[in-house]
Structures are given as structure tokens and as C-alpha cells.
Amino acid sequence: MRKPIIPTAAKISQYGIHPDLLTKRMAEYPEMTSVMVKELFPDAPEVIYPSAAGDGLDLIKKAAIAALQNVDMSMIKPGHSVNVLASHHGFTLLGGQPYATFLKVVRDEIESKTGATDIRLRAGNGLRFRETEEYIKQYGLNVHFKGKARCIAPIDEGIPIKTEIGTLYGLKSVYDADWIVHAHNSDVREVHFHRHVDRAVKPFGMSYARIETRSTYHQNLGPRGANFTARSIFESEFVKSKFAFTAFLDMAPSGVVGVVAANDLFELNDYLTFVGLNYYGKIMTLLGEIDECIVGLDFPCPVPYVFAAGVIYANMVGANVDLFDLDGDLPPYTWYTEAFYGKNGKPLIDDIAPVNPAVKMVIHNYAWGGYPSAFFSEQIPTIVVKKEQAELFDNDPQNLEYTKHAVISESLDNAMQFAYKTANTDKVLIFDGAIGGLNLSHSLLQLLQAKAPAVSKRVDEELMPKWLRQRGISPLGVKRQ
């Protein structure tokens, strides 16, 4: 039996408990094993990080330099200012170093190729307004950007942007340079929200946007029309006049595939949509084949964003439906879905699928606050390990109801024993950011190994053609990066 992969380490953060309080990880149990994505799906792409030789960060540097050779930066002149735009999610991928390394190379290549020196980092946040401030410090980004790295939050000063659907609002500090460079990553992340439509464009509607725009996305435009928020901002004359180029850390469930860059964001968007569906379609479909399991949350991130094999827990909550299939109106979890549960606790309409019934119980061993998560504990039996973690949530303005729906356990051992007895299954899936694969129980491994070949065939022959057709993408028309 393969040993578990070492989980992503706990981090010191104001949004989580102190790492010293995390005395045991779920992967430490003797019944746990692991599987690499490549073992489940032999056609999974080759990755440069992690690297068997341990030189993955160097490979990322080289890939970024190579990708940026093909980008036109001639619009940036010496003396011009440039804002490199980043998002907090990148720092939770594979421990955070790959994204931090990528951002440093982007900065250095701009300076080296253009002679411009006023290059700033503007790192966006989700609902934890100092999160990227922590990453900037942790990865030495302020030093690398010569004191010009800034954490930006959606309640900061705004700027109106005229779009073809009306006025939306960006963050003033995002656009306070002569040029902007969009430096992101391609993991599918919250596919339940964006449904993998315009993934590469989405940060313009979220990470770089004011509250009015984010609220438009999540409340005004519908579960599938929402992504137009980002496209309308990006296509505005104002943003187009500032946009220099984009670069992406190209992600797969097994690790970093490479770096891609382009002057045309939509060209890159089509490519990333194609490979994103291809890379993540199989593992997401496979997770949907799980019949029953106990889920472990054990990662330095808010509840919905904890990872297993490149997939976040929120997507496991919706894995009973095909989240990539745009014919489905509402996934089992989005804020639109959550909004449509009435006061009696039942959905207002019968079109709402229940959350994934395969998830019998959740053990919250380690996860952060800073994202409204009460829906998860309300819908799925949840055990929070240790009172300190419960108190963290009880004092989080976004999670005042979270532990009302959960039970608190004094230790992980007690929680595991209770879960095994009550959930009546020995299948365990751990969302702990294990790199290149996932940690799980031996019983669940056997199920996944049995199901993977048929899933692979179905995605190749049936689902991929449908997903691409729904997004207007022809595989023949996608320009390889």
C-alpha cells in the first residue's frame, strides 16, 4: 500500500488556528493510502512541478521565461509604470511557491525586455482582505518588487468602468499604471460558479473588482450568465487601453504543466478552456462516481476551497451532477443555489439538486474562516475538531452560524471514531492539498481504481465533445500555446 502523500503544511494566518494546534493530520492514520492522478489516468499530462529531480521551481522559471519570449511587450516603454495583477488563489496551489516564483519571473522579464522599472504587484483577495498581505510577506514579494507589492481588497477605492451592459466598478489601484499585466493560474477552482466559461477572464470580474461588480456576478446575472460580468469589464475600452499581455501558470490536477502567455487573452482563454476540461474533466467525473465517503477537510484555506487532486471541496459537494454541463441550470452549490432555499429549509423550486449524497460526513480537521460556509455544515453532518477552531468560526462575521450546525470534537481520533460509526462507511477522502494525487482510505482507492478506466472513456468520447460544443470551442481551432 502506497504511503500517504505529505499534506500541504499548516500556515500561520489570522484566518486559521495556529499551526501548533494542529497536532494530527488525517493522512497519518494507518488505514490511509494515496494515489497519484497519473496512476488513475495514465494520459494525464506530464508536469514540471512537482519534479522527481526536485528542480521544479527552476523548471517553472525556465518555462515562464520561454513563454514570455513570445509575447509582444513593445508597448511598454522605459519610464512607463506596469501593474502585475495577481490573485490570492494562486498562492494556495501546491504550497504557494510555484505561483510566487512565476510572479517574480514575470516582473523580471518585463524589466529586462522593456527597461521599465516601475513595476508593481497588485495582489487581489477573496473575502479575507489581508490574505495576500500574508503571502506577500511569506514569499518575499515586496522585496522582489522593490517595495511595490500591494494587497488589494474589494472594499478599497473604486473606479467606474463603462461596459457594453452598463457601468461596473474596478479597483482604482489595479488601473493606476500605464499598463496592466494579468498574471493568473488555470486551475478550474470554483467551477460551480463559473462553469468553466471564460475562466481566464474571470479575475477581471472578481479579483480585480469592487464589491458592486462581485455582487453583480453573484446576485444579478444568473448562475450561467454571471461570467459575462468579467468579460464585459475586460472588453471595455478602458481596460483594453491598459492591457499589455497575460501569463498563466498552466495547472492540471497532477501539478504545474507549464507557463503560457499571450497578448490576446481570448486566444489563451480558448486554449485554457480546452485543456482545463481535458485535464480536470476526468478527475471531477471520477469523484462523482463515489457512492459514499467521509470527507476530511485538512488544508490552510476556507472550507469550500480545500483541495484534493486539484479539485476543491465545493466541487465535491456538487459532484453528483456534471458541473461542466451547461444544460444544467443550477449546481447543487453556488450562491444562487444557496439563495433559493426557503425559510423552511427546503428549496423554493424543485429544479435544485441536493448536495452530493455520497458525502455522508465531514471532519473539519483544519480549514480557515473568511468565506460564508454555514451552507456546508447545514447540509452535511460536520464534526469540527477542537474548540479553538470552533471559536475561530464563532468570531468570524462570515461564519456566525457555522458551528450551530456542527458538533465539536476534542480530538481527531474521537472525530474519526464517531464518523466511522455514524456514517457507516470506511471510505475516506481527504482534502489536504496532497501534491500530484490524493490521500484516501484503501477502500476508496479500490473503488476509484475500478471506476477510472470507464470514466476516462466516457469523458473522451461523450463528455468532452459536449462540453466544448456548449462553449463554442472547436478542438481544431484551439491554438496550442
Partner: protein, 204 residues
């Protein structure tokens, strides 16, 4: 309804009077006097926006000795009026419009129908916008607009303006992007279905 369990504590020694806390407070409860921030504790709803954006870490959120709740009682307003206002705003009365506090459209509509005229007043009365501070500004502005109220923008960055909804997307835009994965008409259909849905009161 929201439980208020924490309040900001400002260190006068550290405060530089920059005013950012007052510019980001969704309930507009912070003023700068003599180059120091002062919180109006009667109306502070403990969201922590000030603590999260203070550039010099002069603010800490501390537990209240006696937590309390704020809420507008929906029963104080004829429900037909609430339903009508929500329908004009394209919402179901029981629709949640703040995910952190689970505030439903009916409570915000009741706040407006009992006299609240700005997002700040609505926040003070219901506690909405006091969780993530990000996602619920547009439904509030939509309900105010449906009531015929055009609130004056407060000082600072609290909010800038109302933005388009699905019902504002023009036929030309729908046609232009119809093959790109944007399902506007289908989404209108599902949202209309929600608006017309039977609520827990049993009425449509």
C-alpha cells in the same frame, strides 16, 4: 437578523487618522476627530472592515460582553407589500441575499417599507453587509430602486452605484455571445421560476 458579537477597539497611539476605516465602514459609523478614528458603537455591527483595512494595524476586534441581535420584524409589514416590492426587484421574498447573515429579501423589503432609505440604514437595522461586506450591495440597491428610492452615495468607498441585472441584457448582446457559453435567456427562465415559487407561507 444578525448577531453582533464583536466591536472594534481603536488604539489611539497607533491611529494616524488616515480615515480609511471610515471610508470602508458599511454602516458609516466611524468619524475622524482630532486626527483619530472614533466609532459610534450604537450603530457598529461588528463587520471588521475597519480592522481589515487599517494600514497601521490600529484596530482590533474584541468580543462584546453582551452580544445582541438586530433585525427588522417582517410581521410588522403587510406581506403583500413585501411580495410586491420583491417582485418588482426580481426577487422571491424568501430569497437569501446575504450569505453570511442569511438575510432574506423580505427583511430588507420590510426595512425599506418601514422607512430605511439607504444601504447604511438597512445595514444598521438588519445587519446585512456585516459579514463578507462584498456580495449583497446590489440586491439592497435593487430593492431600494424598486421602492422608488435613489439613495445618495455616502462619503468614502462604501458603495458606488447600482449595476445591471440579467433583465437589462439587450437582445443584441445575447445574440452576439450566444455561442460562447452565456445562457442569459435560460437563466432568466430559472430566476423567474424562483420569483413565482411558492414560499413557506404557502402563497405564490
Amino acid at each position: 437578523m444578525k448577531l453582533i458579537s464583536v466591536k472594534p477597539s481603536i488604539s489611539a497611539d497607533k491611529c494616524i487618522g488616515c480615515g480609511i476605516c471610515s471610508k470602508v465602514c458599511p454602516a458609516a459609523t466611524i468619524a475622524i476627530k482630532d486626527k483619530k478614528a472614533i466609532v459610534d458603537e450604537e450603530f457598529c455591527r461588528g463587520c471588521g472592515a475597519c480592522e481589515q483595512r487599517c494600514p497601521v494595524y490600529a484596530i482590533a476586534m474584541v468580543k462584546l460582553e453582551k452580544p445582541y441581535t438586530v433585525a427588522v420584524n417582517v410581521e410588522d409589514v403587510p406581506y403583500e407589500k413585501i411580495k410586491e416590492l420583491c417582485k418588482t426587484a426580481h426577487m422571491h421574498p424568501e430569497q437569501i441575499i446575504c450569505y453570511c447573515t442569511a438575510t432574506r429579501a423580505e427583511e430588507v423589503a420590510a426595512a425599506v417599507l418601514t422607512g430605511a432609505k439607504t444601504p447604511e440604514e438597512i445595514s444598521r437595522r438588519t445587519g446585512i453587509r456585516m459579514g463578507c461586506k462584498v456580495e449583497c450591495i446590489q440586491p439592497i440597491l435593487r430593492i431600494l430602486k424598486a421602492a422608488g428610492i435613489d439613495p445618495e452615495r455616502p462619503d468614502g468607498y462604501q458603495w458606488y452605484g447600482i449595476t445591471p441585472t440579467l433583465w437589462d441584457i439587450s437582445p443584441e448582446i445575447k445574440e452576439k455571445y450566444k455561442t460562447s457559453g452565456f445562457y442569459f435567456d435560460e437563466d432568466i427562465k430559472i430566476l423567474e421560476k424562483v420569483i413565482k415559487a411558492k414560499g413557506s407561507r404557502g402563497d405564490r
